[in-house]
Symmetry: C2
Subunit: 301 residues, 2 copies
């Protein structure tokens, strides 16, 4: 999985910091997650191909996660897009984008599908042969979902030596990858475990922004390869985190620890602090594997 | 008058070019004209004080003139604004901004006034003791207004020498500035023209973007100090200008010449051309005083 951070700061876009947006690539499939103002410029800056984005997930309808979407939808049209575009987000997103297109008499010349979310329980909202995406119910001032991207279990890997040893015909290879045993001409059954190796463990990425401290998400994101969890504040401003339904770095780390994730990526920083390193220091007291998101930063896991 | 260009390129924001927005300062009063995506970042970059912006004029509801407005309105709230904000633009602008605020449950804590425009004739939409703003009816794919900012005639200037010579009491100074004659104690009438000088000629700025070639605006912008006129295309793409209801640099120059303006400022360039100097070269064939707008450029006239 490859994760390109386009923006990861709270509230308003500034000269050097962008509001939330990131691109996740899973087995060559690209997902855009949130779309703050200026996302399309960030996409260009980091040389992401617009045409590879077919699925956009919006966590909630606050401007810093959403106000770049009308412009991106319009730009797709100007670029001559003809492929379908799917947008997943809270109810109301269709009305908003449709109204803006109507006012500008600027209808898209590609099919635009809205998948409006209202469920109070996690649900699978996207699935293809390689990936599923499910919502993570978060707790914020408006209806907000995180997203859990899970690879499906891949095919088993052929054990080339064993296949050679038993002189098994190519015609059986796909069966072996699918986990089947093979019967030789003399009737001997060779067990699949002798002919193949386990596929790589499926990876998963949990995106959780914006949310107050919400330990009940732990069961769902258990053992995720990577967790992006917002940390708008430090513990010194825990009262503001409660008031605004955001999290502190320490709370994000507590979630990471309880969920036993591989790596915790922090983001959605308030710009009140003099350095984002402070967030990492605070989280490291609770959880050992912490990284800081930053605009333009790239992760592979 | 001081004009700060924040963005002046057509269509979509890019890494190095911004969609349309500019700030005009007239006698210490600041007006924001159009508000493409990223305008708030450009305002910060050029160190414009957010609190000085109280009146925003939106020419039309295409994204490249308008999609920065929701974010700016939200940012004003985050900055703790309490002063009124007035937004002038085509009918529909109120519904759009209101819907976006509602979806984010992010109502402003300052008074937000919408002045929706529908008139097919020019009309005065703002007036204070120093400036009037009237619409210029343009011809584009959607309902579009340009804006004409006109200084009012100021007070006459006191002729210090003459006032000294006739030993006129201070109490009469404001009357003199207002154009009145003065009667001396012996009954002699001193004419105002002897006691004061004409005030500076009022300046005016005409903003015309986006529009097809529309010579009937000439009467209204006659003798303007400065004219910003869009030139999306060069004459070589005149057919595209007609099709998309934009202008060529040559057409912008023809308007400037017919209106006898002081200076023509070109902008709203298509990014298909290798240099914006080409626009200036084309316009200079028709009109002698041409400047190129560019992001970050500052004009004083």
């Amino acid at each position: 999985m490859k994760l390109q951070i386009l923006g990861c700061y709270a509230a308003t876009p500034r000269t050097m910091t962008n509001p939330t947006s990131q691109v996740l690539e899973v087995r060559n499939h690209m997902f855009l997650i949130d779309c703050g103002e200026g996302t399309q410029v960030q996409l260009r800056k980091h040389k992401m191909k617009f045409s590879r984005i077919n699925h956009i997930f919006i966590s909630h309808l606050h401007g810093d996660h959403f106000f770049g979407l009308p412009g991106l939808v319009s730009t797709f049209r100007l670029l001559g897009r003809d492929k379908e575009l799917h947008i997943y987000g809270p109810k109301g997103i269709k009305e908003a984008i449709t109204l803006l297109l109507k006012l500008g008499d600027s209808w898209t010349n590609y099919q635009l599908y809205f998948h409006e979310l209202t469920s109070k329980e996690p649900e699978v909202i996207f699935e293809n042969d390689k990936v599923t995406v499910e919502t993570i119910r978060l707790s914020h001032r408006v209806y907000t979902n995180g997203f859990l991207f899970k690879e499906k279990l891949g095919e088993r890997k052929l054990n080339a030596e064993a296949v050679e040893k038993y002189k098994i015909d190519k015609a059986y290879f796909q069966n072996i990858k699918n986990g089947r045993d093979v019967a030789l001409d003399d009737g001997t059954i060779i067990s699949n475990s002798e002919l193949s190796f386990d596929p790589p463990a499926p990876k998963s990425y949990a995106y959780c922004s914006d949310t107050g401290y919400k330990p009940d998400i732990v069961y769902q994101i258990k053992n995720a390869t990577a967790l992006y969890h917002e940390s708008t504040f430090l513990e010194s401003e825990a009262h503001l985190a409660v008031k605004t339904k955001h999290s502190t770095a320490k709370q994000a780390a507590a979630i990471a620890k309880a969920a036993n994730v591989g790596i915790l990526i922090l983001g959605h920083y308030s710009t009140r602090y003099k350095s984002i390193e402070l967030f990492k220091e605070e989280a490291l007291e609770i959880f050992p594997n912490v990284e800081l998101a930053d605009d333009g930063k790239f992760f592979e896991f």
